[in-house]
Symmetry: C2
Subunit: 393 residues, 2 copies
């Protein structure tokens, strides 16, 4: 399914939305049901249990009917009181937006900056915690979607937060389910993701996990200004097996099926598959002669940031790839506007998707006059992808 291209079916190699497997699509069109009845209660219970396995958490987990930004807002709004200091890494568009959001919710962001394309250093977090022992939480964008950078030291940061008794809030929107993130083991107090990334669902659902340590802060918070994102209300209703507000029932059907697929594959196999696909993309792009935007040790396995050939803007390149080769790629943002493009490597991907993407980038850059090493690029991708096991879906 993934690589067939027609008027109505494009291959979407975006950092979300992603290609939804037919099995998940079919699940989505089951007849609606009441969200206060026993049938939905059973589905919600299944969904939560399976999602907890994907999060590797035994603590509370809530599914919201919002995009990922809604879940991030939920995590932060339920923690932050006016003036609270929240440490946050800023190394790209989405982490910058997170720092802004902290301000909007009344908090005071303490920013640990690193260059776009680089991950923050644990040492810098340690210093800022020492200088601000009253900071309430440390918030990390685990995978900066705009630059394709993963914070590989997240486990170490989790240890630091445990030692310093500060909450760790992780934005894992573009990575959870595609790379290692054992939420409990790594001391992540609140972990946020969304349905349309590595979870292989259509967009519209998001997730927040909440540790007992996070609940301590939430329960003493004086004013809860949101109804729709109020975690205590979610907890109360979930105690009866329901959501406080009408959930996107059809998307819950889809999520239930997607979780089955994720757990059938198994997390280690799934993470390995994403890594192999990422190796194929990075290897091929370098072989072709294109630069990579992220430092080698922080390159994401779920989104690859690739430099455009000199003199070719990403808008023009992506438009050609979209219209002539039927593949949607992610664009450049802000500081890197025009200079790079992004390849999503999320969820329902394997050899057909990666080979056709590499091939399309090779052809389109050639169409635009770039002299790339095309056969080397294809061979690099093929060689990496040969390590993939037989496809499951």
């Amino acid at each position: 399914m993934g690589c067939s291209v027609s008027e109505t079916q494009k291959l979407i190699m975006l950092p979300g939305p992603t290609n939804v497997p037919p099995r998940v699509m079919r699940a989505m069109i089951k007849p609606l049901m009441g969200h206060r009845g026993p049938d939905f209660k059973e589905i919600l219970s299944q969904v939560i249990n399976k999602t907890k396995k994907v999060f590797q958490t035994k603590e509370d987990l809530f599914v919201l009917t919002t995009s990922g930004t809604g879940a991030t807002e939920c995590a932060l709004q339920n923690i932050i009181e006016d003036g609270d200091k929240i440490i946050v890494n800023v190394n790209g568009f989405f982490s910058e937006r997170l720092a802004e959001a902290i301000k909007a919710y009344g908090g005071q962001p303490l920013v640990v900056s690193s260059e776009w394309g680089k991950a923050p250093r644990t040492e810098d977090f340690r210093k800022i915690i020492k200088a601000n022992p009253d900071a309430k939480a440390l918030s990390v964008v685990y995978n900066e979607t705009s630059t394709g950078v993963t914070v590989r030291s997240l486990q170490e940061i989790g240890k630091l937060c445990e030692e310093e008794d500060i909450l760790l809030i992780v934005d894992a929107i573009s990575i959870l389910g595609g790379d290692k993130l054992p939420v409990d083991e790594w001391n992540v107090d609140m972990c946020v993701t969304a349905s349309q990334k590595c979870m292989m669902c259509p967009p519209g659902l998001s997730f927040v996990s909440v540790s007992p340590k996070a609940w301590e802060k939430i329960s003493v918070k004086k004013q809860h200004r949101s109804f729709y994102l109020d975690l205590p209300m979610y907890k109360k209703y979930m105690g009866d097996g329901f959501t406080p507000f009408t959930p996107a029932v059809s998307l819950f059907y889809a999520l239930n099926e997607a979780c089955d697929m994720i757990l059938e594959e198994g997390l280690p196999a799934r993470f390995a598959r994403h890594q192999i696909c990422a190796d194929a993309v990075y290897g091929a792009m370098e072989a072709l002669g294109l630069g990579l935007m992220a430092e080698p040790e922080s390159r994401s396995h779920t989104v690859a940031a690739v430099a455009c050939p000199s003199g070719i803007e990403d808008g023009k390149l992506r438009e050609l790839i979209r219209t002539k080769y039927g593949i949607d790629l992610g664009g450049s943002l802000e500081k890197w506007k025009g200079k790079m493009f992004r390849i999503g490597i999320m969820g329902n991907i394997g050899s057909p998707e990666i080979m056709s993407t590499v091939s399309a980038v090779a052809s389109a850059t050639a169409d635009l006059g770039f002299k790339g090493r095309i056969s080397e690029a294809l061979e690099a991708a093929r060689k990496a992808l040969a390590r993939l096991p037989a496809r499951m879906n």
Copy 2:
């Protein structure tokens, strides 16, 4: 489709979610696409234009990825500054919740109470406005879903708000698309609804219309505490043809198709169909010997509140109707707990749905020992439904 009952297909006669037409379901499983590309831009533009026709507004309209509560929160949060006086009718569970929400957002609710089952009187609104000339907005639950009461004087209230220069915010969640509500003509400044009611879509999308008068208040508001529900951000992004956050793309496909169906039928025909179906339900329930909970002049055309036979709790009755007759009905809430049930009359409904619902209520109440006038009930429904035109879908 609607009336077939099997293990996987129940007829849902709830006040939302409702039965989604197959045409809308099929639209939902179109392949995903990027939400920043030209294809989605075109779909979003179509969806907004069509939804504006259903709202009968030429002003701004935004589609959010939330349930209805999210849209209500969006409307209120973008208006209310700490301490603002907001007039609100309270005559049921959902309007009570609205008054609570106003408090949570920092506002001061000025409550116009009426008994459950009754609509508020315009005179009471006039009095409270005169006594509180500094009140910022009047917020009305047009259709109180918990009691099946429609505020039939809404147009009059709109005139009052215009004269007194106060914003009118209308919660039309369980009614818009099923009964008259010309947003601009009736001076409604912000109108809120959700996808899973009369709009015939799965749940997960919601809507907020914003008049120029509402924008004046929003634009001078000092602090915007939400990112996810920030109307100025929606307006900014919609200027480029996009949503600020990842939209539930599949649900937008569904909504686009549902809007086509709504506009093909035409609003007057659609409202007439809902009224005829409501007449059939009310007539049949009274003929059967059951009481109606709402005062005659305020009975909703989209949700009927029916008294349980004496000695039979609604939980038991609904469970029997669900399991033996395959129909989901709405339950009782709070003050009326145990005493009544609700029949949703929303969206994709006509003779098969209403006749089988009336029949199931007649059978189930008989099963539980109630001596109802069954043939009179069926005949009352049939007679009303005979006024329906030929079915379109």
